[in-house]
């Protein structure tokens, strides 16, 4: 009996050892059958709009033609999945060479040591960076180094359906918080909603908080208490909660799924207004060609009309085995051709040299360019995703009526303070 038992334990140990030896090891450059170097590029370009097609059928083939020997493999993920996928790939050592990362993930990825500092590794970095707008460029900076280059920028503006506004007797889109309340009053009993949004994350809440004169933290990002729960911040969220309680904002905002999506409800006339970015234009053109989408600035509160800066950066991973080839593609993405091609699909260019041509490419960029002048970025903090999740969860409690807005923001600030303190 004994030798058999020993043998089985040995076998078990051997299997475990063999498995543990599998992980680790550096990455070898990937080549295809023809000997071309393959660069993997992860992104969240949407297949619902012409974005993905333009990237895969125009931008990448044009680059490959100009750079023989390099192939770019485009790997699209749904936006919500990409962040998780990046984190698991970081832990597992299976990252691609290039990633189009939401600007809010860059500090986190840089802090994890996932990204290569482009400002040090790229010869032409200063030259390329000088031609981009300062705001978007700042989103690539962490600890004094730039870990990427801006790829596209955007902000949220008010999109409205005039037919629904007419029901409330409004000839003009709501320009202030008071107009929003008036709109909500005017639509009562019609079954239509004054405003729709699909989450309570920073992207959704911050335009209201900032426009009300509130803020998330102090300037040095050291404290949320006294800022996130200030009377001004509360007023911004209160407007949304009041409209929700009136039945003028659909359940979508508390994360309830299965309702009419914002992009469907607006052209149908169920929703009078929503906040969204320039990429919606191609989507509406495709899905609701009869609907004339109109935009206006973010409604102003006591703090003005302040929206949130969005956008993406292209970043290179530190584990990339073919950095030279990858950087050639980055350079191409930041060139006029690629930027203009993507601009056709609602991806707002980041090159200051294209500024004057912007409205020639698409007239709808006008409202966005104006809104961007006052728009603010979300907290450039490595733990922003966690901070945002706390805000999101706490504010939901105010919507369901479990707490007041003040209590919800007090609690969020109290949980965020220790994260900021480090």
């Amino acid at each position: 009996m004994r030798p058999t038992k020993t043998l089985s334990w040995l076998a078990l140990g051997g299997v475990a050892l063999a498995l543990s030896a599998c992980g680790g090891g550096g990455q070898e450059p990937t080549t295809d059958a023809d000997g071309n170097t393959v660069i993997k590029y992860w992104h969240a370009y949407s297949a619902d709009s012409p974005e993905l097609k333009t990237l895969e059928d125009e931008v990448i083939p044009a680059f490959e033609k100009a750079h023989p020997g390099i192939k770019v493999e485009s790997v699209p993920y749904p936006y919500d999945e990409l962040h998780k996928k990046l984190l698991t790939a970081t832990a597992g050592g299976t990252l691609p060479c290039l990633v189009r990362s939401d600007i809010i993930w860059v500090p986190e990825l840089a802090q994890l040591g996932t990204l290569a500092p482009l400002s040090e590794e790229m010869d032409d970095f200063d030259k390329i960076a000088a031609n981009t707008y300062d705001g978007p460029l700042a989103t690539t900076e962490y600890d004094g180094k730039h870990y990427g280059l801006p790829l596209d920028t955007n902000t949220r503006v008010l999109m409205y359906n005039q037919a629904t506004l007419d029901e409330a007797g409004m000839d003009e889109p709501p320009a202030t918080f008071d107009d929003m309340r008036k709109l909500a009053e005017g639509l009562k009993g019609t079954g239509d909603f004054a405003f729709a949004d699909n989450d309570t994350a920073g992207w959704n809440l911050l335009p209201w908080i900032w426009s009300a004169g509130g803020e998330m933290t102090d300037e040095g990002m050291t404290k949320a208490s006294g800022h996130l729960n200030s009377p001004e911040s509360v007023a911004g969220v209160q407007l949304l909660v009041d409209m929700y309680k009136m039945g003028e904002i659909p359940d979508l905002i508390t994360g309830a799924q299965g309702g009419t999506e914002t992009a469907v409800g607006l052209p149908k006339g169920d929703y009078a207004t929503m906040l969204d970015g320039p990429w919606m234009f191609p989507i509406f053109e495709d899905q609701s060609p009869d609907f004339a989408l109109k935009t206006a600035p973010m409604p102003a509160g006591d703090g003005g009309s302040i929206s949130v800066v969005g956008g993406e950066d292209v970043v290179m991973t530190d584990s990339c085995p073919s950095k030279d080839e990858a950087m050639q593609f980055i350079e191409y993405l930041l060139g006029d051709d690629a930027q203009k091609a993507m601009a056709e699909t609602g991806q707002m260019p980041v090159l200051s040299s294209l500024g004057s041509e912007l409205t020639d490419i698409k007239p709808y960029y006008d409202t966005f360019a104006k809104q961007l002048q006052t728009a603010r970025p979300r907290l450039p903090h490595p733990e922003y995703p966690k901070i945002e999740e706390i805000l999101r969860t706490e504010v939901q409690k105010a919507f369901t009526g479990d707490t007041t807005v003040q209590e919800a923001l007090d609690s969020a600030a109290q949980q965020i303070d220790p994260i900021l303190a480090g």
């Binding site: 498995l19 832990a91 508390t254 799924q257 999740e389």
Partner: protein
């Protein structure tokens, strides 16, 4: 993770007993010793075991050991960065975390709502479909269909059914029958959402209990039933005095599996409410997932997973003792 959720996936680990195999079973124990000449070397059986062993060690045992290690460290995400040992700190944190307790209560509520209902429903369906009725096979297939349907798909379907403004349920209840002033916000409030989640669990799981009970009903000795009827026992009396006692080990087995499945509820909650609004419908596994994969607190997530494992182990052990499962089944 997905595999553990459905009770069916775990059946292989617990041997389904033969109904009525109790004291009269008298099967031989242990493998039969070969008396013929030995074929092959002593290594042969191990070579046959190897493929399964590799999968078991690599996909189950290894992660279990790693998670235990992780839960005792302040595990750092980035490769190459050292992770300090912190002992039971993460377990201590969980015990003092109100959201963890809330998730435990929600899980308990889900279990209390789904386990007895699935047991009763499964047994009733099995008894009905054990008779010679027309379309018996079709009914069996229909009731079993939810079990083999993807959790994600049925969760999405329920989400649309129970949507506040455009869901079918509110359309019938509110617009059709005129019940209530306002349409019910099913998934945006704690208890209505838990009710919908439990309904989904029951609908999806009842067919599995039915199938096991159906199989067990075939093994209830016919002579006992005949004897009962000769003695003048009615249908109800026969059920409670003959059928149910004969099914006891199967009831025990189904209960244990359902409790384990109930504790492992994840996909439906993750898809339909995401634990929200404001952590109100968080169950243990969604909270663990949130800590690990959204907050990157893998150590804390592992500690929560281990606490859940301890609870499930304790409950299963208690149930087996309660049902005297071991003596009955072997």
């Amino acid at each position: 993770m997905t595999d553990v959720v459905t009770p069916t996936a775990s059946t292989s680990r617990l041997r389904a007993p033969r109904a009525g195999a109790g004291p009269r079973g008298g099967r031989g124990r242990g493998p039969v010793r070969s008396t013929g000449p030995r074929h092959g070397s002593r290594l042969t059986p191990y070579l046959f075991l190897l493929p399964g062993m590799v999968l078991f060690v690599g996909l189950i045992l290894w992660p279990i050991v790693q998670a235990a290690r992780m839960s005792l460290l302040d595990w750092k995400f980035t490769p190459g960065v050292s992770s300090p040992f912190v002992g039971l700190e993460h377990y201590d944190r969980a015990v003092h975390d109100p959201v963890f307790w809330k998730s435990l209560v929600n899980t308990g509520v889900y279990m209390a709502a789904t386990v007895p209902t699935q047991l009763a429903l499964g047994l009733v369906l099995a008894l009905l479909l054990n008779k010679a009725i027309a379309g018996k096979v079709a009914f069996r297939v229909l009731y079993y269909l939810p079990v083999i349907t993807s959790w994600v798909v049925v969760s999405l379907v329920f989400e649309y059914l129970f949507s506040t403004s455009s869901g079918l349920v509110n359309h019938v209840l509110h617009d059709g029958l005129g019940i209530g002033q306002e349409p019910v916000n099913w998934l945006g409030q704690r208890w209505p959402a838990m009710a919908v989640l439990s309904m989904l669990g029951i609908w999806k799981g009842a067919g599995w209990s039915m199938l096991i009970f159906l199989a067990a009903l075939q093994t209830v000795p016919k002579d006992l039933l005949d004897a009962a009827s000769v003695d003048g026992a009615g249908k109800v009396r026969t059920f409670f005095s003959i059928t149910l006692p004969q099914l006891r080990p199967v009831v025990a087995f189904v209960t244990v599996m359902l409790v384990i499945g109930g504790f492992n509820v994840f996909i439906s909650v993750y898809v339909m409410t995401g634990g929200g609004p404001g952590d109100d419908t968080q169950v243990v596994l969604t909270y663990m997932y949130k800590q690990a994969f959204e907050f990157l607190e893998f150590s804390y997530g592992s500690a929560i997973a281990y606490l859940l494992a301890i609870i499930i182990f304790g409950l299963s052990f208690a149930q087996m003792k309660l049902f005297k499962y071991d003596e009955e089944a072997s």
